[in-house]
Symmetry: C2
Subunit: 346 residues, 2 copies
DNA sequence: TTGTATGCGTTATCAA
DNA sequence: TTGATAACGCATACAA
């Protein structure tokens, strides 16, 4: 069942291959009559240009790659990615591009990069000196870093991690919390340092804590999942020495803390205040609704895609300023000296 | 900055292109010494085989396409897709494949299909006689239908939509509900009939309702989003003629109903019972937690990918039996004659 | 307006 | 164990 090629159409229509090619890519250069005939024959034969052959010839594939440092089963556990893709998709739509998901292949992100045919990459959470980014550079493929650091070579789209984290911590401190635990995101790549945005968020939390003269916060690593949040909560000390407030670097982990705390008969926010990060849609529906740091994820995706598309067209683009974050106060945080506290402790 | 090709490596290493190709694809056929030398030179030069050229030659691209009938910004609003991709990803991982998202390009799904270079498709919610499926057939690309209908030409992976829907409706009927509203999913493609799974779910709901001798349910179309669910609720009659129970075909819409009902000062479940469909993770965290029909989404993805991979290797595969669905009873449903009702109406 | 000829970078067939 | 060489299917500079 060999596929029908341009040559088949050409001979069937009694023209050259060039004419057929023009019919698809340069219709103006063909006579009205021949154009219609060629198109008709192509239609009848069910001809479509072979994408790989076209890509080889034009040096463009019409797809952009989304470089994710972990397995799909892992990264898609986080609604964050869905939202980012909504943003990317908006631009893909507009520019007739498709989106290729590129997780590590065979455990190697570098290998995956070499295998795929894309016109550009958007890389998630990879620092500019990551070896995967190096490979992309070396291949000369345009690249936009998301949730990374500024770099001379690549535009980076970031949010104000530090400001958001600082606002979150200050919120808790203003409510009187002093014993605070921080749920830190794990490194995205095995054996690597924490990703850049984690470092910035940590700095933001600490800045507020230091400014308030509060004791240093305990930190515990929690993956981006409800289960991981729950486990992180379990590992925290309870009672007089336990935290009264938790700062989580992801809403998913925060939601896990919510559930685990309530299972442990703690009331949120009366006994434990919880602040998330991201403001994924679900954080508005939890009970209690989650206080969190909102970042404009969809917009981040759109912006990254827009920059990449510029890059692909040969323009050089500077990194935009970080997108702003805002604290969204809902019901999962309250004053540490709330009235309920007395009742319960009685 | 022209990319380094196999010829560059060949001449630099003083061997033929064939030898270089062998070094990557058929190392056994090369002498130890030459193999190492070629690989070393390739490394130094930063050589990687051009994916499009390789695809053209081997007739394999190493990627599978996920055919979605709507824009990415739309479909990724539904957590369902995230979960499905987790399932697909598990197999992609195992078989060194990447996943290409293929939404309509320029408004045309058929056009998108012709543009992309994939070894197979997984198509979502498309009936076997959809013109997009026809195009895939015509190109001779392996295809697995998900949430569709059985077909002679394509294996289809489905769930027991009818059974799940029936269980949901019966649950409400058993609780004494008689005035029931159904939130129907809109057609996935403009100007088309409802997708196959919608038809089956509707049949399931109605089967239970008929069996109980209850009056026919009102139906209202609601997209798969919280906002759409809210709007659907608004459009429902209120009070003595309004429904006491809502059957939604998606959890997202159900969550929207939850929120809108509570905003309208109805208590869930005392004043209004709500049943969703899918059992997305978030449905366990809402307040109240959502009663819903669970379908094994991740497993569905894994199964679909597994079948597609078989298909791509030339085997022919029959459609598996529909995956079973189960009713998950949480807190969003209760008896229509609950005690609270009297208190409130007093 | 249409056709000829060549390049795109690999893999694979066949010989050596 | 290695090397010429022919596909693979299309786009395009150039010629007619």
């Amino acid at each position: 069942v060999s596929r029908v090629t341009i040559a088949d159409v050409a001979s069937a229509a009694g023209v050259s291959k060039t004419a057929v090619s023009f019919a698809f890519n340069n219709p103006d250069r063909l006579g009205q009559a021949t154009l219609e005939r060629v198109l008709g024959v192509a239609q009848d034969l069910g001809y479509a240009p072979h994408p790989a052959a076209r890509a080889l010839s034009t040096k463009r594939s019409g797809t952009i790659g989304l470089l994710v440092p972990q397995r799909l089963a892992t990264v898609f556990g986080n609604p964050f990615l869905s939202e980012l893709i909504q943003g990317l998709g908006e631009q893909c739509d507009e520019h007739d591009l498709t989106l290729l998901l590129v997780p590590p292949l065979d455990g190697s992100l570098e290998h995956a990069i070499r295998m795929v045919s894309v016109d550009g990459f958007i890389s998630l959470g990879l620092s500019p000196d990551d070896s995967a980014v190096r490979v992309v550079e070396r291949l000369g493929i345009p690249n936009v870093l998301v949730d990374s650091e500024g770099s001379a070579d690549h535009p980076a789209v970031n949010i104000d991690d530090e400001g958001g984290a600082e606002a979150a911590a200050r919120h808790l401190l203003d409510l009187g919390h002093r014993r605070i635990a921080i749920l830190v995101l794990p490194p995205v790549r095995a054996q690597k340092d924490p990703s850049p945005s984690v470092t910035r968020r940590l700095a933001g939390y600490r800045k507020a804590i230091d400014a308030a003269g509060a004791p240093e916060a305990a930190t515990v690593i929690a993956g981006i999942s409800v289960a991981a949040g729950g486990r992180a909560f379990e590992s925290l000390p309870r009672g007089r020495r336990g935290p009264t407030g938790v700062l989580a670097m992801s809403d998913m982990a925060a939601i896990g803390v919510l559930g685990a705390a309530q299972s442990a008969r703690l009331r949120v926010p009366e006994d434990l205040s919880v602040v998330g990060f991201d403001d994924i849609p679900a954080s508005a529906w939890t009970s209690p609704p989650l206080t969190t740091v909102r970042q404009p994820i969809v917009e981040k995706g759109t912006l990254a895609a827009r920059i990449l598309i510029q890059l692909m067209s040969g323009k050089s683009v500077a990194s935009p300023r970080p997108l702003s974050t805002t604290l969204v106060v809902r019901k999962s945080t309250s004053s540490v000296t709330g009235p309920d506290l007395h009742i319960r402790r009685r």
